[in-house]
């Protein structure tokens, strides 16, 4: 059962009609084949046209789609023998940020990422993918561990942001995010990051400061949510669509700005319509990026990553 977004209403209506038609067709009765085919073609075209010109705000909706493949789905399909590792060794464990060792197409990798959860219980368990300081400290710990054993790092980014809460502040949310970013910049192994859903500000960046950054076609990555930006600059969250546009937060804009390296095409109608196909494409792109980093000496991997981020924004223009 696909959950339809507001702007997908016309597609939803068509698809509902097709379903109805199929269900009502009597066995061996009137041949409805041609009619259904016609409608299906129409629905597919409508979907293609809709997705070909998604606005930045509509992309935000797609990136947040409840059925969008999350960390668990991606790791389940791409990583063999995933062994989760828990805890920051300082305070606690944070289920919003997952990490562990496994094999990706034959090679050992350290996998780190945000998990949003897929139903009410798991969303609460994973705090909707909003990491706490212990989550970011765990991430930093795992990056350092990977670097020590010369294991490449792969991260999957999908968060609305680091958790804004009293205890998170008390335990140094800002410092934890800063240290996680610092860990990204100090490891000397290949590091590829994939923005697979929402890339929300510092909470995303803390896992995404990698050698190569890839991004799903309809993912977004921004300094603040469109709603947050709108409520500050326009003084009303109703202007979120305008803010989404102005912030240049789509994969296409970010590639133009040189912030990300590669866009991974999603199946027609978004990754949530065909999660397995989407994840496989993501896997192919990841494998390709890792190959690009193969054989580079450790010092160079780190130096290149630093040089990449030291130059960010220096000569940018939209």
């Amino acid at each position: 059962m696909v959950t339809f977004l507001e702007f997908e209403k016309p597609v939803a209506e068509l698809e509902a009609r097709i379903k109805e038609l199929k269900a009502s067709a009597p066995e061996g009765g009137v041949d409805i084949g041609p009619e259904v085919e016609k409608l299906e073609a129409k629905a597919a075209k409508l979907l293609r046209d809709t997705y070909a010109k998604l606005s930045p705000w509509q992309k935000t909706m797609v990136a947040r789609h409840p059925m969008r493949p999350h960390f668990k789905d991606i790791v389940g399909r791409l990583i063999e023998g995933f062994t989760p590792l828990a805890g920051d060794r300082k305070f606690g464990e944070d289920a919003a940020i997952q990490g562990g060792l496994g094999r990706f197409r034959g090679r050992s990798v350290m996998v780190i990422g945000h998990e949003k959860g897929s139903d009410t219980a798991s969303r609460i368990k994973h705090n909707f993918g909003m990491g706490k300081p212990e989550g970011y400290r765990k991430a930093a710990r795992l990056m350092e561990l990977a670097s020590r054993f010369n294991v490449p790092i792969v991260s999957f980014v999908d968060t609305s942001g680091a958790f804004p809460g009293v205890t998170a502040e008390e335990r140094g949310q800002a410092e934890a995010v800063a240290r996680s970013t610092q860990a990204c910049l100090s490891v000397s192994v290949p590091f590829v990051s994939a923005i697979v859903g929402e890339g929300g500000s510092g909470g995303a960046l803390a896992l995404a400061t990698a050698n190569r950054i890839i991004m799903f076609e309809h993912s977004v990555y921004a300094v603040i949510s469109p709603e947050g930006c709108a409520s500050i600059l326009w003084r009303t969250a109703d202007k979120a669509a305008d803010a989404a546009e102005a912030m240049k937060q789509t994969a296409q804009d970010l590639k133009r700005l040189g912030v990300i390296d590669t866009i991974v095409e999603e199946p027609l109608g978004g990754a949530h319509r065909a999660p397995e196909a989407a994840i496989d494409r993501l896997g192919d792109a990841l494998a390709h990026e890792l190959t690009l980093l193969d054989g580079l000496p450790p010092q160079q991997l780190r130096a290149d990553r630093r040089a990449k981020f030291l130059a960010m924004g220096r000569s940018a223009a939209a």
Partner: protein, 286 residues
């Protein structure tokens, strides 16, 4: 609103208490009126309630460097309005207005001089310039300061003050977080002290990057320091925030700072710290 309160602002004789800016200073915290000259001599700290007023780069440099002597370092130019951003106003107009009102090119200023006899580079983030917000130019200036410190083999002292990232530069402002972090890594590896003095207010992406990565973390009394904004937190937890939440003393209690230092003791504290970390005055090795 009664007819009286509506009328009041229009009656010019009632406004006489708002005397010219240049003569009197009214404390934003306790309302005390102080002669401006006296206030500035008191390092822009209220003599009655100790409220530390936000100050700009020139005043800060004058307070921090020995005998108030320093040389301003130029901050490198950065691409202006890279996203062609427009909200209710054009971003370029906002920059122009900020330049006109502060007389500074951007929200981060640099100077070189000595602190307690130790040559040092000092960076000051200017809250008066678009809330001190961090865009590419701020990142560029921060990095330039770190590189000047590297070149001179001197400590880098940074006074932070910012609402966070500059939204008008979108993702490029976010990218200044890792960018500044690279500059700090270079200082760390060269064994040069990077000292942060958090001033009111320091929040958002600035806190989540260079403001929290100091070798020594100092804050001014009662400075607001945090990651998330208080309204955002309140709406998340749906309850009142604890007393003193996100204030300097609160962070000190939670192990996030080395010390909270009154402005009158700041220069001396910094001098002692850089002297110790740079091991000045040590006996020559035998």
């Amino acid at each position: 609103m009664s007819w009286l309160t509506r009328l009041r602002p229009k009656l010019s004789f009632l406004q006489k208490r708002d005397t010219p800016d240049n003569l009197w200073h009214k404390c934003k915290s306790c309302g005390q009126m102080v002669f401006r000259k006296e206030f500035v001599e008191n390092l822009s700290v209220c003599p009655r309630c100790d409220h530390h007023e936000r100050i700009g780069p020139n005043e800060r440099f004058g307070q921090v460097f020995d005998a108030g002597a320093y040389t301003r370092l130029p901050t490198p130019p950065a691409p202006e309005d890279p996203l062609k951003f427009r909200d209710q106003k054009r971003y370029t107009d906002r920059i122009k207005a900020a330049r006109a009102s502060t007389g500074e090119p951007e929200a981060f200023a640099l100077a070189q001089g000595s602190v307690g006899g130790v040559p040092a580079v000092v960076g000051v983030q200017n809250f008066a310039f678009m809330g001190g917000s961090m865009g590419v130019a701020v990142g560029e200036a921060f990095v330039a300061g770190a590189q000047a410190a590297l070149a001179a083999r001197s400590p880098y002292i940074v006074f932070t003050a910012a609402g966070g990232a500059r939204m008008q530069e979108g993702i490029l402002s976010l990218m200044q977080m890792p960018r500044s972090t690279v500059a700090i890594a270079e200082l760390n590896e060269a064994a040069l002290p990077y000292i942060v003095v958090l001033t009111d207010p320091t929040t958002g992406g600035v806190t989540a990057s260079y403001a929290m990565l100091g070798d020594i973390q100092i804050a001014e009394p009662n400075a607001l320091i945090g990651f998330a904004g208080q309204r955002v937190i309140e709406s998340t937890i749906r309850e009142k925030l604890p007393e003193g939440f996100q204030r300097a003393e609160y962070l000190l209690d939670h192990g996030m700072l080395d010390m909270v230092v009154h402005r009158r003791d700041l220069q001396e504290t910094l001098a002692r710290l850089v002297g110790n970390l740079m091991r000045t005055g040590a006996p020559a090795a035998a």
